[in-house]
Symmetry: D2
Subunit: 355 residues, 4 copies
């Protein structure tokens, strides 16, 4: 079942295909009276948009957002906010090969298996272009949680990780990789460039940290803050793993080693550590909310891969065209957007029940 709405009270619904005329999002449930114009959204779209350097796809989209409803005299009215981004660079390439044979690792086969046919142009609805709509919605969500500061970054590319001790949030936007460690960023230049030239692709680990989340957001038991984040992040194209706080490292730890001791503080408790990633029992503790995501390497590569065609015959496919050698890089602003969207929803849900 197609399900393109996310959220419980602060909800957004995205639509659009890679090669259709436009894509967009309807944001519903937004509080009224927030100052909002295209200028509040555009910078986040610009940070995500393709064609900005040689490490990302060379598709060139202006990704200009237009507010079609829900704002009056510069403020949100409380009614649905419709945002639209026109597609301008749907290159009229030849799709006959991809129309006929399935690209392994893409949604080609599964869409056909589910729906009987598919829009094969540029991945159709399964294209990561849809994430532009999420980023636009995320910009609205940020206005709902002004107390929160969200930082996304790339922790590792192709297994080459940053040095956590060298983490510098101020350096993240100084390089094309959203990398908080300048030394790693320098290494990644050749790493990613080599992959690009070879027509290969690389996986990545993306981290995200939200500071300023007060204690008490979240919910037992099926709208837990961590469960909502897991769903949000796993819904991003290419994400195959989600960790909250220490994640899988906690599975190798002991109760003593994993304890986040509490001490008296002037504004709520002070925590001696944050193994939990700022969430206990599904509810925020007041510490930074942290998560890590695994992005797989894109399946769009120049090396021929065995596959089958629509009739089930053996075939071989090479994915030509303009692709990101490491989708995790441009996935980072999408991760930030999903964090904002989940937190905005949880803030309103908390207010609903607890005043």
């Amino acid at each position: 079942m197609s399900w393109n709405t996310f959220g419980r009270v602060f909800r957004f619904t995205t639509w659009g295909e890679s090669h259709g005329p436009a894509l967009g999002v309807v944001v519903d449930g937004c509080p009224p009276g927030l100052a909002l114009s295209e200028a509040d959204i555009q910078p986040f779209l610009d940070a995500r948009k393709p064609g900005q350097n040689r490490y990302t796809t060379q598709r060139r989209e202006a990704d200009e957002v237009r507010i079609l409803s829900g704002v009056f005299e510069g403020r949100t009215t409380g009614t649905p906010i419709s945002l639209m981004i026109e597609n301008t660079d749907q290159r009229s390439k030849d799709y006959s090969e991809v129309a006929k044979a399935y690209r392994p690792g893409h949604a080609d086969y599964t869409y056909d298996a589910k729906y009987g046919f598919r829009d094969y142009r540029g991945g159709g609805r399964s294209s990561a272009r849809e994430t532009a709509a999420r980023v636009a919605a995320g910009a609205v969500a940020r206005l709902v949680v002004p107390e929160v500061s969200i930082t996304g970054y790339v922790e590792a590319i192709g297994g080459d990780a940053i040095d956590p001790a060298a983490f510098d949030a101020g350096a993240i936007r100084d390089n094309p990789f959203w990398c908080p460690d300048p030394a790693a960023a320098a290494r990644w230049e050749s790493l990613v460039d080599d992959a690009r030239k070879a027509g290969s692709s690389l996986g990545a680990v993306v981290g995200c940290r939200a500071e300023g989340v007060p204690a008490g957001w979240g919910a037992p038991l099926y709208a837990k803050l961590d469960a909502e984040l897991a769903a949000a992040m796993m819904s991003i194209n290419a994400v195959k793993g989600v960790e909250i706080g220490d994640g899988f490292a906690a599975a190798a730890n002991t109760g003593e080693g994993n304890a986040d001791a509490m001490r008296p503080g002037s504004e709520g408790p002070q925590f001696a550590a944050n193994h939990a990633g700022g969430i206990a029992g599904g509810i925020s503790t007041g510490q930074p909310v942290t998560c890590r995501l695994a992005f797989k390497p894109t399946s769009s590569i120049l090396t021929p891969v065995e596959t089958i065609d629509r009739e089930g015959n053996a075939a071989e496919i090479v994915t030509r065209g303009r692709h990101d050698p490491c989708v995790g890089i441009r996935g980072t602003p999408v991760v930030e957007a999903m964090m904002a969207l989940v937190l905005a929803d949880q803030k309103l849900l908390h207010r609903a029940q607890c005043g």
Copy 2:
């Protein structure tokens, strides 16, 4: 906001506290005409129930399930199925300490921060006893997806992992650890026993595999099969990480290494590998659906931990009482149940849209 319902069309709502009179679940949207009696549910509850060996909590609960509605003459009627399990061993221990000071890593502080007060007896609603209700619901879900076979198992305890080459599904229930590798199971006896005697606790990695899922279940974009699984699994107590297929290993891989090549087969395509965990673009491929979960070590340990009391003063706490030294072990049947519940929902959703 308290949210105790999971699912979109096959939905279940759980209720109950650790030390209340009972706990239960209402399963709604179940197809009519399925043969169902308590005997279909009880074995799954028995597999989860406490007090069965020295590696789990010594709380003794019969965990006898009673069907209160939705079944007539031995078959589901299509109306809500109410299942209830009475609590019988809520030992009348002294909770004055835990009522006063927060156990770090538990939901004590966050429930207070959210709701202003909490039922502190045995963790109240945040207790893993709630998962008995999920296991009961999961038994109903299994009847909805008889084509699917679900196998949960423990892959690692405290960092000591099984040998994948030694994986023997038939051995899983031959040891108290849900361990598919007899050699690892032998090692874990002393590992877990030592932790228990020391009043410590251990994390674990739990795997789950669903065979028989046809291609086509799932959905773009926010009810993706992997996103639904991520939410389901992350909602289980103590889970801090979720991987689909290769998960974080994919993040260190290349597009070539991560490709699941397809070949012609008599019943749908044959895949050369399953890095994707049986899901592409959020929709099942027909391969086994696989995931891995990180369970943190429980925070209930005998080593004193710094904390604060309800008034914000410094305190120290030791969590006495009957606890699982490794909650991942008894979490395994819960993981199986959540897998069944997600698949049942996705099967019905697919049928709704695609007939």
Copy 3:
């Protein structure tokens, strides 16, 4: 699709059949800290319960409610509140006739058409006994909207209406008919008694009025306060019509005649009339919220009616047993409960978006 949950953030899920062991409701999303015990719920169940006088069914149920979760030390905890009512008087009558042939106007045929078979004992899930669970949930909802005072009453039975000029809210509970006009109540004694003796049944019009609802509850466009009320009321057994404010009378009026002129007031505007029933644009105006419901006469009558049996053969059926000659009477406390449940949900929704 079976759907037994109502509400968006203040949600309740009912379960149970007429002749099963029990019925109940899980209330989720209730704010924490509200004083709640069985004594807060029981009076509303008592007002609805059968067998209290000769104008209602002679089935005798204690309808004793038990709180199974969600309350600790006398206050709601914010977690799901499970309420259960055991069935005690499921008379072991012979259901062979009703099992075989369909009672026209009942859900017998439609349940079979939908589900393939049905629990035929006393109507199973389609029995009005389910409304006991709603009344219990409604008692909780009232605690969420203490600023609101709800008054349900019967306006007409079998076409014999009250005199609006004689409306006396204080008289409603002085007669067995929830009638605010003592003269009408006196007439109805013989009217209803005659119907009962004749094995006939009568329809009724039930009104409901909520005072104290502040301006601003409700929502554009599909969770309008009037749309939510319409769904809530139409979901009650036997209801076939819903009016807000003047309802169908407005359809015969002019814009001038239907205007609710506004004048300055010390606490918000004063309205010269309330044709709108306290709702404009789906949002409360601050005036009393008023609605009227049409209850059909129950189809359970002693006059033989032509029907068919399960095999499609011609048959004739007489509905023996204990039935309400006018289901609208006992429907009145259910209407009050649904009003409270909708308002509680809308209050929390309003708070979520507008703080």
Copy 4:
């Protein structure tokens, strides 16, 4: 809380204001493979659009719909269908009066009470222009239920009703009133014209009938077919009452008079009557599904009405501009659309649970 999505599995989300650049709808959950182009939608928009004769508002909108997503090579893909209609005739009139004082009966005061301010141009989000989006979505819904034939019509204007014996479905579109009785249509010409000239307005009763609905659609207990219809219809601007089948007339009837006797038939039972409006126990019987709606007279009249301004001071208001003298007329295609939308959702829900 703003809630602009309707439906459970076949869902649509509308957006847009009367005087914004455009309005639209996203339809999600639509089955794949249905032939769909703008030409399938446009006729329904044309039937609703303003300015077609002197009995409706003189605002002139082309109401040209554009499909922005979800259709590929002329067929629905199963992904969200985005439909957009540009506003072209937002006359730049002076709104200073309506910005300052509240029009009684409109949503002016309630929007301000809820949101703190409002888009006052042409009613903003509360304008009936939003219903164009519903009509567009309804055209898609009709494709999902091709077995169903839906007929909407006006039964009465300003209290002047059709003669049921003269009902002629073929005559409905032969007059500007959706009137199935030519004699009544002739009377209404002067009736409506006089109201228009006087700057007055008239209420109306609209009926709707869906033939071809099979037995079994609908659900106990809160997604009953009649409850869903009630919510859908009551969410339409100006609707104040909903009846299913006999509605309020049933409330004045007896069980004998209200019985829909059943007789054997070659294709399911034959019913001797349809007092129930084709729904029993919330589930369709296989008979035509019928309902009636009360539309109030619009509050936009030239007679001055007492009101207050935003500061709470006494004022007087006259609603100038282009308005429908009887909104029920153009409401009729909206009623048809909502019927289609509810039935499409219920068909898919039924298939989800019952195969």
